[in-house]
Symmetry: D2
Subunit: 332 residues, 4 copies
Amino acid sequence: MDFRSDNTHGCSPEIVEALVRANRGTMTSYGDDAVTARLRDRCCELFACDVDVFPVLTGTAANALSIASMTTPASRIVCHSEAHIHLEELGAAEFLSGGAKLVPIDGVDGKLNDKDVASVASFDCLSITQATEAGTLYRPDDLAALGGLAHARGAGVHMDGARFANAVAALGCAPADLTRRVGVDVLSFGATKNGAMGAEMIVVFRKDLAARLGALWHRSGHRLSKSRFLSAQLEAYLTDDLWLRNARHANAAAARLAHGIRGHVEILRPVEVNVLFVRMEDSLAAALRAQGFSFYDWELFGAGSKRLVTAFDSTDAEIDSFIAAIQQSSCP
Amino acid sequence: MDFRSDNTHGCSPEIVEALVRANRGTMTSYGDDAVTARLRDRCCELFACDVDVFPVLTGTAANALSIASMTTPASRIVCHSEAHIHLEELGAAEFLSGGAKLVPIDGVDGKLNDKDVASVASFDCLSITQATEAGTLYRPDDLAALGGLAHARGAGVHMDGARFANAVAALGCAPADLTRRVGVDVLSFGATKNGAMGAEMIVVFRKDLAARLGALWHRSGHRLSKSRFLSAQLEAYLTDDLWLRNARHANAAAARLAHGIRGHVEILRPVEVNVLFVRMEDSLAAALRAQGFSFYDWELFGAGSKRLVTAFDSTDAEIDSFIAAIQQSSCP
Amino acid sequence: MDFRSDNTHGCSPEIVEALVRANRGTMTSYGDDAVTARLRDRCCELFACDVDVFPVLTGTAANALSIASMTTPASRIVCHSEAHIHLEELGAAEFLSGGAKLVPIDGVDGKLNDKDVASVASFDCLSITQATEAGTLYRPDDLAALGGLAHARGAGVHMDGARFANAVAALGCAPADLTRRVGVDVLSFGATKNGAMGAEMIVVFRKDLAARLGALWHRSGHRLSKSRFLSAQLEAYLTDDLWLRNARHANAAAARLAHGIRGHVEILRPVEVNVLFVRMEDSLAAALRAQGFSFYDWELFGAGSKRLVTAFDSTDAEIDSFIAAIQQSSCP
Amino acid sequence: MDFRSDNTHGCSPEIVEALVRANRGTMTSYGDDAVTARLRDRCCELFACDVDVFPVLTGTAANALSIASMTTPASRIVCHSEAHIHLEELGAAEFLSGGAKLVPIDGVDGKLNDKDVASVASFDCLSITQATEAGTLYRPDDLAALGGLAHARGAGVHMDGARFANAVAALGCAPADLTRRVGVDVLSFGATKNGAMGAEMIVVFRKDLAARLGALWHRSGHRLSKSRFLSAQLEAYLTDDLWLRNARHANAAAARLAHGIRGHVEILRPVEVNVLFVRMEDSLAAALRAQGFSFYDWELFGAGSKRLVTAFDSTDAEIDSFIAAIQQSSCP
């Protein structure tokens, strides 16, 4: 029973079937195929505007390329001090921008506060994570305040949406209400964590950035020749609301888990999507692991902190057996 | 009937089946999974030595990361003036190395000559394409001369093996005889052009370079979280000689094509693998295209030049109908 | 008697005196000093518009930073195939832009032709050298055609003016007529070759580029803390027309030299500023060097080619003794 | 009376005289001149070993190039969280290394502790500032522990010696005892802050790094054509112990200042070289500034913190008038 990450899980059957379907006949390569064209149309519809879409393999690529499209080697990028781009991507944004500098700032529950951002002397890009690394959510008003501030300072706005589906599912907003209507210029729209094999989309709301992204996409080695095979995953993801169905499932699993263990272990952050942080004794952690439950230590949130992630295919039985194990261990 | 590129074709059924198989249960992410471990073992066996393997999505990524692993922003990279890294990858090697400079030099039939390379004042990396962009082949002795020269100058040696399978199939050598035994330090071992969906391996023969590659791999966004899905393609590719069977098929198709059209149109380069260059009148090209044959203009080799590429799934019927169309058109 | 380069000569006494004068009292550092403010005012006056000025130590820095200010790692930069940025600066433009790619094109007498530039598929920056590396000059109409073309393509225009003073002196134009009025966005305005110790100005005609340049200037280590000592050299250079007096002197020396040797050796390019290319037998070159004349081989212009450079402090006696030596050697 | 920075002061008369002397005749450019050769010899003597020396204009250039010589775009660089390379150089090290990532860590009194450095998971370069930004000093044993640790981890060691002269003067060590004998691979040896116009040396103790530095030096635009004019400043700096005389003077001025004001205002860090941090009321700061004393706020060290810097030409009268002003203000 694996609560380590959404990345340790496999992929939705609908995605596999789409790959099989896409493997017919020859097609123009490098993005000029029919599957990629349909994917772009679907995104225009979803965001209710004309967007450009660049499929890539990884979230790190999506984030770093998005940021590079709105920065130069001379730029400063504001992000949260817990941001994936700061802590987990080994300097990808700095690398693909040719040397831009991250300016990480703190904020409660993994969220940037517009007053703190306003205190930064100068910056060229603001990167916001939605849902956050702490498993929490910005409301549209929070985003509008941050987006307005960034634009007033002449900076671009990037959203790291590795768990964008989980955010949309939880908030019940239109995708545009969390992105372009609140000032987001480029979105890393994740699929891998939520049921794809390996596929993310960079969705661009500004034509000037799309031209730069096109060049960076190729130049960084992220433009697949047999482009249909990334696009087919993403098209299936957006078909019949697979993305939202998967995300709702994972969110509900986390809520069920939180409900079951609350009072038995300390829950460290609000549980708003599919990620949960708890503090537990070493002995409890060891006992759970011995019973076959796997999860990561998360010392960033203090000694004894653990992260539990639920996925698109987590079962109620898995959740309930974990709850039972916790409840049993914490009995007197 | 599509002779545009090996990239316009789909993928081998064995590859799809491997993906379906890999989609079972949860696995550790970021390369620590069992499929990736088996892939590495298979490569060690294939090259008869301890190698490191980094799966990536594209040939551009494989080339640029390989080169970046042995260069710095201050480096000079010698390559052929027709090399893919120079003409087709939009500066990826320069980008991912942080600004290194390509030094392209000429050479007959797409091949670098050791005397010409020796005349370059200083360089840090020599990049050799095997099979070449001209569809020709270096013999082991040619490679040994180039490799020895580069090492004597303190430079690293990279091989762009986007069509490495076609070269091995044509030459009948052991893979090691075309790589580490003749001085290659890092190999871009292509699979996408030869039947994979989107998967290439960087095979590293030097431990000092492997450490750098590991960091660049992640930092450039090319390290897939659900790593099993790249590795599964590559494992299938190396199983039961699928890579060689596909390559032999494509090579034979090109030979059949060359044999059939020789004398009717001018063939511009020796036909040694699955790529063929011909010169034809505009009227002939138009007539062929009107009959449903597709292929690219290749002005780099002179006015009227065209490139014809055969693939792992080209059929004799397709080849023969193209030959018939040529023969018919060129009748008096 | 040294005709190797303008860089082998020392500096004008007026420049030394300015440094001595600037060495009084304390001043705010990093460009906020009175000397730098006066320099900027002087440049606004000289170019008859509001400009920003960034003093740097070297021409390579001026060129690479200028180009980096209008490009990204994804950009393509068109320049002449003899350009200093392509042949002599070891990839500085590629490096400081984070990996942009040079697209060098040929052109008679070291000059870009607008038709050739128009044939380049896409580019983001056009770099023009005035006076050229061949010692020749663009007329204002030539520049206007190039500048108009670049702007129509959305590209920025850089002028490498390492010998800008020599060009202005020779053409008798207003500085604005060779720069902003013909579409130049950023000028590398050289002083080192023409009598300074080590000082060049980046003159920026667009405010959006100035903001980027300010960051790149600091970030690349080219913003001197004791800024007064670069600015003092440049202020003196622009005072009482020292820049034009020095350039006229050097140009006149080259003209005198060309006049004296024409008919005795082949002059390879039009002599329009202070640089002269000749072809001579090896025996003649050796004989001249044995008599104490120094100059560089310039094989780029063909076997036996030599470059002769005159400077702000070349004397008539030096020129005449060289002429005499040539005339004597070539007598029957 | 200016206590803002060592950079607001001018330069030593010996330096100006050296420039005047160097301005005679023509000399080979780009570092192949006699002055530069003598400078290198002098450095070999000073450090009692064969070193390579690269003169540059600024400390930012010296630091970033030094670090770039031992890193790649994939590297991690450990430094103190108050380091100049982290807080003041706008990302120069990240930029010139092509995107390497700084890992800043805390430490008492501006100093890195080897235990804290040992806890960093992996790194490729350790950058140590001597004297520190807090005006404090590492002892040879401290440095040996850090250097040994870095080398054991396969990392290179850089020393930011913007105030290296002040450190040597205060500690009375041989220069080699603070550098190569304790594991320093590359030293940024500052002169600008201590009496030069604008000149620093990169001193390299490893031949493999010297080759990379040579290329980066040129490629980043830091190799002056008229090289004699940087080298002449540095040669004068090392002649007749000017560097140590200037540093001893500045150190003594700071000690005199500290002695005079101790007990009247809080001194925040040990005073070991020429930099002093104090806490004072806003009213006192305003009163002192009204009397013509200038100094910078230094909020990094807490509210009300100020930095006072003495220079090679600070006079006893200036110091004493500042002390008198403090004593007077703090009387009851």
